[in-house]
Symmetry: C2
Subunit: 244 residues, 2 copies
């Protein structure tokens, strides 16, 4: 049986060397953008519009959208709430269109939008995402959003968790060193990923602003079966057939 | 006691986010450029001129230099020999000035030349290099040359080996996720680094051209006490005081 290529890119800065129109790109920003987006869809959000800058977020607010936006750990004065997954409650988001301000995540989505498909990954939708990818029979690139183009431990470890599932199928194979490294990091983290991730720099950055309360939540799987997919400037829910 | 920052950059594409004029930058390209350069200095080469392109290498040959240059695993017709460390024998290189053609390595050296110092690292000079860095009391950035801006397993593992030595001193500290990941990869590789590195993509690329005979050699330490340092467009030997 033909096998498909699995690769991982640890920094958006290196993305051009991995770009391929045949790829399904999985955007990963475990702490916190892609975890928050998966939570919002599980709670029934209709569409999410990702934006890079505070100015764009403010403009969308003026147009009447509900906006999640923070900078340096503080909710911006014009925003409805901040970027934690805990803000996306069913009461707030069900049936709504929401703007989510994420510099790194938006950049990753936009740079990869010439691919075959762009989807959002996190531990929260890991099972559903990996099953769907296996059914697609296309090359896959896991794109870690990282922080300021630096390698992010939590995204690399998640890439290993996803790679483990994809490579255990008969559909994927990899000769990519990033995949190999992520599998080894995941093998160390797997027994207690929440404990392992305590040493991640992003945990410390979040803790400085008291925003680290969501880290354990962001590292649970089987929370959602919805795969957010990017279409025409928005993320919309892709609900795999068997889950309907 | 004041501690100094240790960081690792896994891809030259991400270098701008790590650039700092206070840094001592350690260029790493274990398979094979930095291992070959360390071997050449151990065998008494006077100076090495790193060049990026085949055209530059050819021009230097026309100027009378001895030139090491290959592309796609083949020694170029005008070159004296290829890029393997085994080519830099004492008989050939002692007292000579040699041009070494390495696309990734040269790019890394040139992009970091505004730093406090740029030195060449490999397993071959690991002890001497780490002792010297500890004596310098400056921030250190380990810059992995990688292959086409992609993460390279063998360079990341070496970064872990070097980080382990630096962090075991009282001089360095790190909050950099790349350092953390490299230490974990090194912890897995350490019992038998040559065996571990069999899964690296670069090993396969070298093997395709029968150039993988030097891999075990490139993973031995205590081979040389010389630290190649970049000055005025050339690499010259820095011999730590206590070794003289």
């Amino acid at each position: 049986m033909r096998k498909f290529r699995l690769e991982t890119c640890f920094s958006p800065a290196a993305y051009p060397k991995y770009a391929d129109s045949e790829n399904i790109v999985v955007i990963v920003d475990v702490l916190r953008a892609t975890s928050a987006i998966c939570t919002a869809f599980e709670h029934g959000v209709k569409r999410i519009i990702p934006v890079s800058s505070v100015d764009e977020a403010r403009k969308k607010k003026d147009e009447g959208y509900m906006v999640a936006s923070e900078r340096d750990g503080k909710v911006l004065d014009f925003a409805d709430f901040g970027n934690s997954p805990f803000n996306f409650t069913k009461e707030r988001v069900y049936g709504k269109e929401i703007v989510y301000s994420t510099t790194n995540g938006t950049r990753c989505i936009k740079m990869s939008c010439d691919s075959k498909a762009v989807v959002v990954g996190s531990y929260l939708n890991l099972s559903s995402l990996s099953n769907w990818l296996i059914s697609q029979k296309s090359p896959v690139l896991i794109l870690c959003s990282s922080w300021k183009d630096r390698f992010s431990l939590e995204d690399a470890v998640f890439a290993g968790a996803l790679a483990e599932r994809l490579l255990s199928s008969d559909v994927y194979e990899s000769i990519c060193d990033s995949v190999t490294a992520s599998l080894d990091l995941w093998s160390i983290a797997k027994p207690n990923v929440y404990k392992y991730i305590q040493k991640a720099a992003q945990r410390s950055r979040l803790a400085l602003n008291g925003l680290d309360d969501c880290i354990e939540f962001c590292h649970q799987s089987e929370y959602s079966s919805i795969i957010p997919i990017y279409k025409d400037g928005c993320l919309i829910p892709l609900i795999p057939d068997k889950e309907r």
